[in-house]
């Protein structure tokens, strides 16, 4: 008997088989067009995510993912659907991270940000449009995810991450993604992830520059990068941030997140990557003691 995450039909295998038969009958080879997925949802009163889980479990790939399949197998797509990523910050980095995770079909995305959009976000934040000025960033994130991929279940937290709410926000999270803009909160997030054995993919930007690192459970890389710093911000306060740096660093973060979710070879253990887009220079720094 299969255990379904979204659809815990223990002892209802006949019903699952009926749904699977409907999907198989209407699929195009092993590709499942979205209208069939939607129709199955209506016919059997299921969420799109539940239909997606049954489809993937029966070797059917929702057609939206067909250009991924040389890289991500159907079984791996099922792993992504059953994963949960929490994105901390829905600004420059977070906007692109959320976009890429939703398109990948990560089954559950939690988004955390206390802020509303302001005019100075328009130069770089993917989720920020003129109409959304003054509106909550987490609401924009939820709308964007729903518009891209209705198989994704969304959780929004419109308050700042802190020790008092870390257990609630990180509940069930497979990987945490750092899109924060503040050093003390990053260090708190790193501590909480360490306590809960959750891998943390870190990214930070300033002007033409950025950095990426992965803190695996038991490691302390954020401490190496930031411990003892007396300021809440780095040189970004002086340099600002353009449109392309968050897009580049967010994409590097998502590449690391996907590999962690799929359990494939990690690229950045005990090291961090500094990226200089002005000189197009990438520098690796190793931390042999983690």
């Amino acid at each position: 008997m299969t255990t379904f995450l979204f659809f815990p039909l223990s002892g209802e295998d006949d019903f699952v088989q009926e749904i699977a038969a409907f999907l198989q009958k209407n699929a195009d080879g092993n590709l499942l067009p979205f209208y069939v997925q939607q129709e199955a949802g209506q016919r059997f009163s299921l969420h799109i995510a539940e239909v997606e889980e049954i489809a993937l479990d029966h070797d059917l790939l929702p057609a939206r993912y067909q250009r991924n399949r040389a890289m991500i197998s159907i079984q791996q797509q099922l792993s992504l659907l059953r994963s949960k990523v929490a994105v901390f910050g829905c600004g420059g980095l977070g906007g692109y991270i959320i976009e890429e995770l939703a398109r990948l079909g990560i089954g559950r995305i939690a988004v955390v940000d206390p802020d509303v959009f302001e005019e100075h976000n328009l130069n770089r934040q993917l989720l920020c449009t003129r109409e959304l000025l003054g509106k909550k960033k987490v609401d924009a994130a939820a709308h964007r995810i729903a518009a891209i991929n209705p198989a994704v279940k969304i959780q929004t937290f419109d308050f700042a991450f802190g020790q008092d709410n870390s257990a609630e926000i990180l509940n069930g999270v497979t990987v945490a993604a750092d899109g924060l803009d503040n050093i003390p909160i990053r260090l708190e997030l790193a501590e909480s992830c360490k306590d809960l054995n959750i891998p943390l993919v870190h990214g930070a930007i300033a002007g033409w520059f950025g950095q990426v690192a992965v803190q695996y459970p038991g490691e302390n890389i954020l401490q190496h990068l930031y411990a003892g710093k007396k300021t809440a911000h780095g040189v970004e306060k002086r340099l600002g941030n353009p449109s392309f740096t968050p897009a580049a660093i967010a994409s590097l973060e998502v590449a690391e997140i996907v590999k962690i979710l799929l359990g494939t070879k990690p690229s950045l253990p005990r090291r961090y990557l500094a990226m200089d887009l002005y000189y197009m220079e990438f520098t690796e720094v190793f931390f042999p003691d983690g």
């Binding site: 977070g94 930070a204 930007i205 002007g207 950095q211 911000h233 780095g234 961090y272 500094a274």
Partner: protein, 74 residues
């Protein structure tokens, strides 16, 4: 004695990428940072011969010092 200093990102602006500096024995990383008119609170990662270092560390002959700015934006 001589050390090689490598600067990263905006630290290069109006300074240099790589430079061999002549310093007195006992010179700390912090003294070099100050000599280069870099604000201490803007210094992120410090590497001495590829290993993680700090501002109070004293440099030795032929050391390679790398300075990265503190980057915290999102």
């Amino acid at each position: 004695m001589q050390v090689t200093v490598k600067l990263f990102a905006n630290f290069r602006n109006n300074r240099f990428m790589n430079k061999v500096l002549t310093i007195a024995p006992g010179t700390t990383v912090g003294a070099i940072v100050s000599e280069l008119v870099i604000r201490e609170d803007e210094v992120g990662i410090i590497l001495i011969n590829g290993r993680h270092g700090n501002l109070d560390q004293t440099l030795a002959e032929d050391d390679n010092l790398s300075l990265f700015p503190l980057v915290g934006g999102g």
